[in-house]
């Protein structure tokens, strides 16, 4: 990480602030999950992803993450129950052992060793040794590995020593009676299951349909199925097992040593027959005390009518529910009793990992309701279009939002979260933080961002105030369209937007008054307020013409959204006050709200408007279009080659949520390259920005401030607007006092117009008070929540353009300081924020800084108002355009950005405010083998005659904690771990030998 510290000003030196950059935690749902595991002893769940990450979750706040060095898909994950060890299989056919390590207050996942099955001598084909299934024995000392070649190998754990007792296919073939042989090959090993009562017995299922039970080396019993095998599971008693098949059926088989070979299952059903069905991919059989066993299986739907559904069936006696998910089922497990003395499984809950979300079903409550997840929130249930963060939320607003949110949840139980391993050590957050995400379907979701787990609080939908083609009633609660199968829609992932115009573009919330401003793609600007009662009312609609009779322009883009003409019922929560529609209905590009003055300001690519939502009156608007700008008029949908492009866009929109971040970046790059290719391949034109660049009129930022614009002695309300062409308009507002508000109207008078010479887009505008601090938010001073700004000294305005930062003195607007970032570094400003950094040393010392994210993905911190560079960090890959675009800073020096469509990475620049998982996991790792593995030397079995020895990890540990004498120091325990790898085949060849007490030094 690149780090540079410039000398600070004298007063800064007293309390030198450090800006350590740490990426603290990932919020949301892991992108492209591929494997799931559960440790019933520690009550931990692990999720593996296609990018090679392993994420372990326990009780809320307990989580840790590990990332494989190889970016390969994690195909399987297995816990060693209670030991805090995880075994992972990647699709490059390597096995990895991970351990949960406790360091200070954090738990970490660390890779201990990796292993690859050696090729069998004489067989060159790699598919023969390709691992298909893993079975760690419950005793945790042995691992059975099934391969594509049909062999089953045994490895000693945790050293990964290959034992000489592999079962090869030919052995099986010899033991199996003649009529059970189907051709020459048995197919890959499809399932390995340990007998629940006799650990030595292993059930081996082959893909072609042969199932055999082995007791160590001895063949016990075998059955042959007519259908291709998909999965096997033991019944708890061990007297029978269940197999599921590719034809959509499952069978229960008896196990008795009296009849070693059988054709006849106890029962055989195809639940969704008789028409052809899809395969039952996985089946679980759980016995209950109440009688009938619970059968849970995924897939098996009738091929013709519901073959495209992602379903999981829960069957118990006559109860039958088909959970209908919106994305593919990756894996599922039940949380049940594992006590061997108990007779029944008695499952508590079913945990289903889907491609886009996690669903937990309460199996103890009648009706099998869902349990809301405290983490792994599907942020991307509809694609995220914008985000907004509010720090230090007042308790009043917080409680009201939560209570409004609780009334929204139907069909959810409030049973405790069943996955509750580990202890959360993080102190309860000092202040409440809200993260608001705007989505493509017109919803705004409120998340609790105070802690490690991002918890959904409330969902606001703006679609219901418009007439759209679709009914926006919550379809999730509605029952399925037909009686059979008994579908129940579960989960909230819904990537399909009814109308792209509903998409939320900008959000602004006043945390003291509960006023919310939401603006969307079709120029709609909605002012809402928080109301605890239900209501049913008409919506006030106002239209603001931003073109101001400018001639020669015709809008060719989408129409505005027609508001509903009748009254609309609203649930308790945020309810609309007024809907302002911009004409032409271009997407809103900037909004701001001043609840104390009852004013909002909004801007599009055509101009900006000022609106008094108390009197429902637009009192000023201004067109910012340049006469030559034709592109702005065409709107987003009809720009050149419209049909082809919009088709491509809509496909992309559908795909977007499914494609990984990496792919999206590639796509974006390809798109960029495509655009450039039309001109010249890899050359760039050097031309200064001119006044008539396209889209120069786009309003980029708006801000209200109480400052000096008219003269140096009288301050008053002002509004500032910055455009894409480097133009800043400053208005003096005449806001009547509170009591006269309904009589007098607000007036706006243009005070200053600043044309930045370099014409770069204005990214942000902020007014600083006499001491150089940002002005407080509305209501903060009048409610004694913040220090009053210094109105004595002269104010200044900070204008951040894409290329440089400038501070101008007010009211004369004379340049004071500036920093030309692009001229120096060649990077352009994407996001800026004024951040309050508090010192670690003293509680009450804090300093304001300007934080800026550039198009190269690096973060710069500058002092204000001196604009001295303080520090620079690489944060986001510069290719990750969507990540950079999604970044949002908090007021305390943290930030969020999307690392995938479904995950926010949280980072912190403040030494004081860091939100990271602090947790403790009490692992019970048997001492002996772990000591062996960490205090030994792995000795080499030559594989191709080439041996390499690499010391991977070594640390010394003194015998006693007292200061060791010279003698003692000479005999320290040296823990060496030597990893031995064959250089030619990159295979790990290792054996174990005690090698711990070494005279050293």
């Amino acid at each position: 990480m690149f780090f540079r510290l410039r000398p600070c000003a004298l007063d800064e030196l007293k309390h030198t602030l450090s800006f350590p950059f740490v990426q603290t935690v990932e919020h949301g749902f892991p992108n492209q999950p591929s494997a799931l595991a559960y440790d019933p002893k520690l009550q931990l769940m692990a999720i593996g992803t296609k990018s090679g990450a392993i994420k372990v979750y326990g009780a809320p706040g307990v989580e840790c993450t590990g990332l494989h060095k190889e970016t390969a898909t994690v195909t399987q994950l297995h816990f060693f129950p209670g030991q805090g060890r995880i075994l992972s299989l990647l699709d490059d056919n390597t096995l990895h052992l991970w351990e949960i390590e406790q360091k200070e207050q954090c738990s970490h996942l660390e890779e201990v060793c990796s292993f690859m099955l050696p090729g069998r001598s004489g067989i060159e084909s790699t598919s023969a040794t390709r691992v298909t299934v893993l079975l760690p024995k419950l005793s945790c000392d042995l691992l059975a590995v099934g391969t594509e070649g049909g062999g089953v190998h045994f490895l000693e754990l945790p050293s990964f020593t290959l034992l000489d007792r592999s079962i090869f296919q030919d052995e099986i073939m010899q033991s199996v009676p003649e009529e059970y042989k189907c051709g020459k090959s048995l197919g890959p090993v499809e399932s390995l299951q340990e007998h629940p009562q006799h650990p030595d017995k292993i059930l081996i299922g082959y893909s072609r349909g042969l199932v055999v039970l082995w007791d160590l080396q001895i063949f016990v019993v075998c059955v042959f199925l007519l259908q291709q095998l998909e999965s096997l599971v033991w019944v708890r008693s061990g007297n029978s097992f269940v197999s599921s098949h590719s034809d959509g059926g499952y069978m229960v088989w008896p196990v008795s040593s009296s009849t070693p070979c059988t054709h006849e299952p106890v029962t055989s059903t195809i639940p969704y027959g008789p028409f052809p069905c899809k395969a039952v991919n996985k089946i679980l059989w759980r016995t209950t005390e109440s009688g009938a066993p619970l059968v849970l299986f995924s897939g098996g739907m009738p091929r013709a009518s519901y073959g495209d559904r992602h379903c999981l069936t829960i069957l118990q006696d006559s109860q039958h529910i088909t959970l209908d998910f919106t994305s593919r089922v990756i894996d599922f497990f039940t949380i049940h009793c594992i006590d061997r003395d108990k007779e029944f499984d008695d499952p508590l809950a079913l945990v289903v990992l889907l491609e886009e979300e996690l669903v937990v079903i309460d199996l103890q409550t009648a009706g099998w309701p869902t349990i809301p997840s405290p983490y792994l929130a599907p942020l991307h249930s509809s694609a995220i279009t914008c985000s907004y963060h509010i720090s230090n939320v007042p308790t009043k607003l917080w409680d009201r939002v939560i209570s409004a949110g609780q009334r929204q949840c139907h069909l959810q139980t409030h049973t405790n979260w069943p996955i509750c391993g580990g202890k959360n050590l993080a102190p309860s957050p000092k202040q409440q933080e809200l993260l608001l995400t705007g989505h493509e379907d017109g919803t705004v979701r409120f998340w609790d961002a105070s802690g490690v787990s991002l918890r959904p609080l409330y969902k606001l939908s703006t679609a219901n105030i418009f007439q759209t083609d679709c009914d926006h009633n919550d379809s999730l609660t509605q029952a399925g369209e037909e009686d059979w199968p008994p579908f129940r829609k579960v989960g909230c992932f819904d990537p399909y937007s009814d109308d792209p115009r509903l998409g939320i573009q900008k959000i602004c919330l006043c945390k003291y008054s509960g006023k919310l401003l939401v603006a969307g793609t079709a120029g709609q600007v909605i002012v809402l307020y928080l109301c605890d009662e239900k209501s049913d009312h008409m919506i006030d609609v106002a239209t603001v013409d931003l073109l101001q009779d400018r001639e020669g322009f015709t809008w060719k883009g989408h129409d505005r959204l027609p508001p509903k003409s009748s009254s609309v019922p609203f649930a308790p929560g945020f309810q609309p006050v007024v809907l302002v529609q911009c004409m032409p209905p271009a997407a809103v590009t900037a909004v701001t709200l001043h609840a104390e003055w009852n004013l909002i300001a909004f801007g599009t690519s055509h101009g900006f408007g000022l609106f008094d939502y108390h009197r429902r009156l637009g009192f000023h608007s201004r067109c910012t279009l340049h006469p030559n700008d034709s592109l702005a008029m065409e709107g987003p949908l009809s720009r050149v080659k419209s049909l082809k492009k919009s088709l491509r866009q809509s496909f992309r929109r559908i795909r977007k949520s499914r494609v990984s971040g990496k792919k999206r970046v590639q796509e974006a790059n390809a798109q960029l390259a495509e655009q450039d290719a039309e001109v010249t391949p890899v050359q760039r034109r050097i031309e200064p920005r001119s006044a008539d660049d396209s889209l120069s009129g786009v309003v980029r930022c708006l801000c209200f401030a109480d400052t000096f614009l008219r003269d140096g002695t009288h301050h008053g309300p002002t509004m500032w607007a910055g455009t894409n062409s480097g133009c800043v308009y400053a208005y003096a507002l005449d806001v009547p006092s509170q009591d006269k508000f309904s009589e007098q109207s607000v007036e706006a008078l243009l005070g200053k117009e600043i044309q930045l010479m370099h014409r770069a887009p204005v990214v942000s505008i902020a007014v600083l008070d006499g001491r150089g601090n940002p002005l407080p938010e509305p209501y903060e001073v009048s409610r004694d929540l913040a220090k009053a700004p210094d109105m004595q000294g002269s104010h200044s305005v900070l204008i951040a353009s894409e290329e440089q930062f400038k501070v101008f003195m007010l009211p004369r607007v004379s340049a004071k300081t500036k920093f030309k970032l692009t001229a120096h570094e060649g990077c352009r400003v994407r996001k800026v924020a004024l951040v309050n950094f508090s010192s670690v040393a003293s509680e009450d010392y804090s300093e304001n800084g300007l934080v800026c994210l550039t198009n190269l993905g690096d973060i710069h911190v500058f002092s204000i108002p001196a604009l001295r560079p303080q520090v620079r960090y690489d944060c986001i890959r510069k290719e990750d355009i969507s990540g950079i675009a999604s970044c949002v800073f908090t007021k305390t020096g943290q930030g969020f950005y999307l690392i995938s469509p479904s995950e926010y990475e949280r980072f912190s620049l403040s030494a004081r405010v860091i939100t990271k998982p602090l947790c403790q996991l009490d692992v019970d790792r048997p001492h002996d083998p772990s000591e062996l593995s960490s205090a030994g030397v792995h000795i080499i079995i030559p594989c191709h005659g080439i041996i390499s020895v690499s010391v991977r990890q070594s640390h010394t540990k003194p015998m006693a904690h007292t200061k060791p004498s010279r003698q003692e120091r000479a005999s320290l325990w040296v823990m060496l771990k030597v990893k031995v790898q064959c250089l030619k085949c990159r295979q790990l060849q290792s054996s174990l030998e005690q090698f711990s007490h070494v005279g050293f030094m």
Binding site: Q548, C623, P627, I686, E753
Partner: protein
């Protein structure tokens, strides 16, 4: 521009002290009906160029007509008279007759002061020239007051000979900068041998663009620095952004692909021929300071080279104060009461010079040294007698074109 200036300078000037008190002027108004006036003028009390100009207008009874003045020097060259310096030069070169040619300033037909123009006409050489050359439009050379520096080679003394630091002045021209850059591989000779490193090169020059017209940048020139910042390790996009951000005053250090035209260190006058007014001019100003014409040049280039040290402050932003803002100070609102009708919503301004007061940020807000620099830099590119005009005036002159 540079050609003309250097030619003015290079024409040998013989200063012979005239002891006559009076001298005679012959005026040949060229494009009026041929009208000759002969009059006498006191050599010592000749006064300023403006006085002389008005005198001619009264003599010829053409008050208010915009004319150009030229005179024939001893070599027969037609030289312009448009400021005090060359007016006095003209007077001093008269022996004692000074032939002055008055020509109506015509928009369509550019005025040309070719070398030996008069002699050639006298000797009838024009007829001997090949006709095709005659058809060729004469080299277009304007007056010095219309000139503005567009490029210069700077820092010749500190750079290696193989490198060239070129300064492009974009401001005030309609011309595009007009070049493209690309990625490429540069070969460096290091103690370890030849090393290939990624570099940025000029890939294309736009015809008629500023870059092409200077002749100082060429295709495949490697870009080493942009405004003093090394581009090594920077991506093409970064270099592009840096150049665009500096485009108002772009200084690029290149390693020219064609190494034959490199500037030789001890500036011979040959270098001036390539339009290197910046480096050449300052050298010349020492050698031939007695030539008034070259003094103009050197003053101009001096002011520029001062500005080089602080290229930072020439992108002063334009602040338009809308004076319809009722202020608390009464005199202000009175003074500007007449423009109340112009409501801000009525349309764009800022592209049209509306009756709003335009002010530069006061230089007092900047540190003193910077302020003086910026006032030097801003208006003086035209190196003309209007140099003394305040920055406000120069801005009004430019109208909707903001050249600060």
């Amino acid at each position: 521009m540079d050609c003309c200036l250097s030619r003015i300078h290079s024409s040998p000037v013989n200063i012979r002290q005239q002891h006559h008190n009076t001298l005679t002027c012959v005026c040949l108004p060229l494009q009026f009906e041929a009208e000759y006036r002969r009059f006498a003028l006191k050599k010592n009390g000749a006064g300023s160029f403006q006085e002389f100009y008005q005198l001619l207008q009264t003599i010829h009874r053409i008050p208010g007509v915009d004319v150009l003045l030229g005179y024939a020097d001893i070599h027969g060259d037609l030289l312009p008279i448009n400021n005090d310096d060359n007016f006095h030069k003209a007077l001093s070169s008269a022996n004692p007759l000074l032939r002055i040619i008055i020509q109506r300033r015509d928009e369509d037909e550019p005025v040309v002061f070719p070398t030996n123009s008069l002699q050639r006409r006298k000797k009838g050489l024009a007829g001997l020239r090949p006709s095709q050359q005659k058809n060729k439009p004469a080299l277009l050379i304007g007056l010095p007051q219309d000139f503005r520096q567009i490029s210069s080679i700077i820092d010749v003394d500190i750079l290696p000979e193989t490198h060239r630091r070129v300064r492009l002045h974009k401001h005030g021209t309609h011309k595009p900068l007009g070049f493209y850059i690309r990625d490429g591989v540069s070969v460096r000779v290091t103690p370890q041998g030849v090393e290939k490193v990624p570099g940025v090169f000029i890939s294309r020059l736009v015809r008629g663009g500023l870059a092409e017209s200077t002749g100082l940048l060429g295709v495949n020139d490697e870009i080493l620095e942009v405004n003093g910042i090394d581009v090594a390790g920077k991506s093409l996009d970064q270099v592009t952004d840096m150049m665009v951000a500096n485009s108002h005053n772009l200084i690029v250090t290149v390693k020219p692909a064609n190494q034959r035209n490199n500037v030789v260190h001890r500036g011979s006058k040959a270098s001036a021929g390539n339009g290197s007014a910046g480096s050449g001019g300052s050298a010349l100003s020492h050698e031939s300071a007695h030539s008034p014409a070259s003094q103009t040049v050197s003053q101009c280039s001096n002011s520029n080279s001062v500005a080089e040290g602080d290229s930072d402050d020439d992108d002063t932003d334009l602040i338009i104060e809308s004076d319809n803002l009722p202020s608390y100070t009464p005199h202000r609102s009175l003074a500007n009461g007449n423009i109340h009708g112009n409501t801000p919503s009525s349309g764009v301004f800022g592209h049209r010079p509306l009756p709003q007061s335009v002010s530069l940020p006061s230089s007092s807000s900047l540190s003193d040294s910077k302020a003086s620099l910026s006032s030097l830099t801003t208006p003086t590119h035209n190196g003309s007698p209007t140099k003394t005009s305040s920055s406000q005036e120069s801005m009004r002159e430019d109208g909707n074109f903001i050249t600060l």
